[in-house]
């Protein structure tokens, strides 16, 4: 147990560190594998490694040989680094989030026409789970998909859709927004795919004529913006988050009477 210097229970938000069971104890658990043979040297190696990461009192609570030359560790330690919470700025998708019914009504009242979106899991990615969660009628986790929204016309093109095909479809149906899903992130394949989409849209002169969004388990709004998207939707975001953003953006851009891409 580390030394108790104060009895305060109010965190100093300019110097935040992890909480175990006492303010500022810095307690964290780590689990990792080192490519070293199992034994007491391995244990010491893990301890020293965690110390080097800036933890005090590293405690290897469990270690186990995975295969000759590889050892798995569970380690507890007290983190020393602190963060000034008051200085944190996180880019967020702007606008109000409404539920499915409210979105439908809002579009009826404020846009006065249907909003059209096309979505796909692009390029090599064979996973439909993300795009289905947003578009398919059933949605995900009790949140209905866009197919169930009033005044929204969604097209779900499925998985492994080349960027060119997705763009062609967007033009064909005069989409207000394109939804790109990416699930596989190994070796940053999602970054390559997402970048390709932006570049192709720009090359076609369409980038400012459609709202471009992306989503997936490892996608944040910040990453999306860095890549040139209008918004990004990560875990815990459902169809209503996506549509709330798109419909308010359609209004902001004054596209109420510009259902055709050519007019925008």
């Amino acid at each position: 147990m580390s030394e108790m210097k104060t009895a305060t229970t109010v965190a100093d938000l300019t110097k935040v560190k992890p909480y175990g069971d006492t303010l500022n104890d810095g307690k964290m658990e780590l689990a990792f594998t080192l490519p070293v043979p199992y034994g007491e040297e391995a244990e010491e190696c893990a301890k020293q490694y965690v110390k080097k990461l800036g933890f005090e009192e590293p405690n290897v609570t469990y270690y186990k040989e995975l295969t000759p030359g590889y050892t798995f560790f569970v380690v507890y330690g007290s983190a020393q680094a602190t963060i000034d919470y008051t200085q944190i700025k996180v880019p967020k998708v702007e606008g109000e989030v409404m539920d499915r019914v409210a979105c439908g009504e809002w579009i009826g009242e404020n846009i006065g026409r249907d909003i059209t979106v096309v979505g796909a899991s692009i390029e090599s990615d064979a996973h439909t789970v993300g795009i289905d969660a947003i578009i398919q009628m059933k949605g995900f986790h009790g949140h209905f998909g866009l197919e169930r929204f009033k005044n929204v016309v969604p097209y779900n093109m499925g998985s492994q859709v080349p960027c060119e095909e997705l763009i062609a479809k967007a033009k064909e149906v005069n989409a207000d927004a394109i939804l790109v899903s990416q699930t596989v992130t190994q070796k940053d394949i999602h970054i390559m795919n997402l970048t390709k989409m932006v570049e192709l849209l720009e090359a076609e002169g369409l980038r400012d004529k459609v709202i471009l969004t992306c989503g997936g388990p490892r996608i944040s709004h910040e990453l999306a913006q860095e890549l040139g998207y209008d918004a990004g939707f990560g875990p815990g975001k459902y169809a209503e988050h996506v549509m709330s953003f798109i419909m308010q953006e359609v209004k902001n851009r004054g596209w109420e009477n510009k259902a055709n891409i050519a007019d925008r």
Binding site: T33, S124, P217
Partner: protein, 516 residues
């Protein structure tokens, strides 16, 4: 055995009978057609392998020459047998000459069908010798060093680099895994050729190539001897090259292959005519070679709701079973699939999962049921995920599943790290051992939640199969009754590679593979 679920055997028989009629109806269509991939399979089985100087696989080069000359309906066997007779060269030499632009076998004068077959006999003999040797080797290892007990612990490796995969696979075997699946790189399923040679780059998986199969087989044989258990190797006989990969699996002694009669249609948008013809060729190979196939019913539940659509899984299991019967696959090689994919917030969801799993076992008592772990409702909360996987393991041991694809606590985050696999194996071993005979001990309340649920799902599956029988499988898929996915008869990838056979067509392997 008395049904613990109080299932009505008449309903089971009725469902199976509908499925049998559905499969027979399709078989008429299948028997009249061939595909580029089926013909490339014949080429491979006749000894054609390798690539030309721009990396086109020679089976593709050969089949493309036939296709362009309009000779695909005659088939590779006839044309290649004829070429062997007329040139005196081996099948491989002929393919190499075509690749070098030196030979057009469609321009040669034609011998009779019988003469063509006769010319192929030495090549067919060589292939069967190789496959029979591989079957004998598996049998020898199984009887000498033994195997793990069911449910087999089945894990995946997916580094993208076959040599790194070997490290991970051997580690998993030492930790207790019984089956290693090398996940394919995303997008390979839509390639209309099989890449060649060892590969070290892939996304979310590693290319399925014959050389990669060989490298992994060798590594698993080594570790099998070390751990004293035969370690099975799994890959994908699916996608545009479904039967070709089955042939490669036969030659390199794969033990388990993912292979579904309709998965490619629904989830990869491969044309339905193409997939149905291809699945037949792949399954006759699988049946002969002692490979366990895994059907992909679990996937329905990732796009459709696991509670509402449970009966589509059961219906599809019946259909996959009957297609397998037509390809003469023994029941012990039928790895019919299903999954633990209900929303974990469902009240009594565990009872419904248990009901479904026991029902599958009662309906398909000898099948090597393949049980798939939670994926759709895995969140990145690894602690809760580990518990979801434990419940999944409990259902598996309780219901007597055969192949248990282990859930990973890091599902939805990344392809498994080395210690993720260890934690999953430990989880399964703990639950399987601790609850070993729970299935023998526990009976269910008459007309309780579990019994009622199974009866309801079976009844709905039977009704769906009756409908499919009436409409035909093609139309059923067009209407989106499986997985909630609609596919048109003439849509999807690969239709251009389908043709009707002409009167000279023959495929010497079908009959030989069926005869075992």
């Amino acid at each position: 055995m008395k049904s613990k679920l109080n299932l009505d055997p008449k309903v089971v028989d009725s469902a199976r009978n509908h499925a049998n009629n559905i499969a027979h109806d399709m078989q008429d269509f299948i028997d009249r057609h061939t595909t580029v991939s089926t013909e490339r399979t014949v080429a491979r089985l006749l000894g054609v392998d390798g690539v030309d100087d721009v990396d086109n696989p020679l089976p593709n080069v050969l089949v493309d020459q036939l296709k362009e000359a309009g000779a695909l309906p005659t088939g590779v066997a006839y044309m290649l047998g004829n070429a062997v007779l007329k040139t005196g060269k081996t099948t491989q030499e002929i393919a190499e000459e075509i690749g070098a632009g030196k030979l057009d076998i469609t321009k040669l004068p034609l011998c009779s069908k019988e003469e063509a077959l006769e010319a192929l006999k030495p090549f067919i003999k060589k292939t069967f010798a190789r496959i029979d040797e591989q079957k004998a080797k598996r049998q020898e290892m199984l009887s000498r060093i033994g195997e793990g007990s069911e449910p087999y612990l089945y894990v995946i490796v997916a580094t993208g680099n076959i040599y790194e995969d070997v490290v991970q696979a051997q580690a998993a075997a030492r930790q207790g895994a019984d089956i290693i699946a090398v996940i394919r790189t995303t997008a390979q399923s839509l390639l209309d050729y099989v890449p060649y040679g060892p590969t070290t780059e892939g996304f979310g998986g590693t290319y399925a190539t014959q050389e990669n199969f060989r490298i992994m087989r060798k590594a698993l044989d080594e570790v099998s001897e070390e751990v004293g258990r035969y370690i099975r190797l799994c890959n994908y006989s699916s996608g545009m090259c479904m039967p070709e990969i089955a042939a490669m699996g036969a030659l390199e002694r794969l033990d388990v292959m993912l292979n579904d009669a309709i998965y490619g249609i629904l989830f990869r948008d491969i044309n339905m005519q193409r997939t149905l013809v291809d699945q037949f060729m792949s399954r006759v190979i699988i049946g002969y070679c002692g490979i366990i196939f895994n059907s992909g019913e679990d996937n329905y539940l990732t796009t459709d709701d696991a509670i509402e659509s449970a009966h589509t899984v059961t219906a599809s299991q019946f259909i996959n079973e009957q297609f397998a019967v037509l390809a003469n696959i023994p029941e012990e090689q039928m790895g019919l699939g299903h999954a633990f994919e209900m929303d974990p917030s469902t009240e009594d969801g565990f009872l419904l999962e248990l009901s479904q799993a026991i029902m599958a076992r009662e309906i398909f008592p000898k099948a090597r049921l393949k049980y798939m772990p939670p994926t759709k409702f895995m969140t990145g909360n690894i602690f809760r995920g580990h518990i979801q996987d434990a419940l999944f393991n409990l259902v598996a041991i309780w219901s007597g599943q055969s192949l248990q694809l282990l859930g990973m606590l890091t599902e939805a985050i990344h392809t498994p790290h080395m210690h993720d696999r260890y934690l999953s194996i430990e989880n399964a071993q703990y639950v399987f051992n601790n609850c070993k005979h729970i299935g023998d001990e526990v009976e269910f309340k008459k007309d309780g939640i579990i019994q009622k649920r199974a009866q309801e799902v079976l009844g709905k599956a039977d009704a769906l199969l009756a409908e499919v029988e009436k409409d035909g499988l093609f139309k059923t898929i067009e209407l989106g009754k499986f997985g909630g996915v609609k596919r048109p008869y003439d849509g999807g990838h690969g239709l251009e590679g389908v043709c009707t056979k002409n009167e000279n067509y023959f495929n010497p392997f079908i009959e030989m593979f069926m005869n075992h």
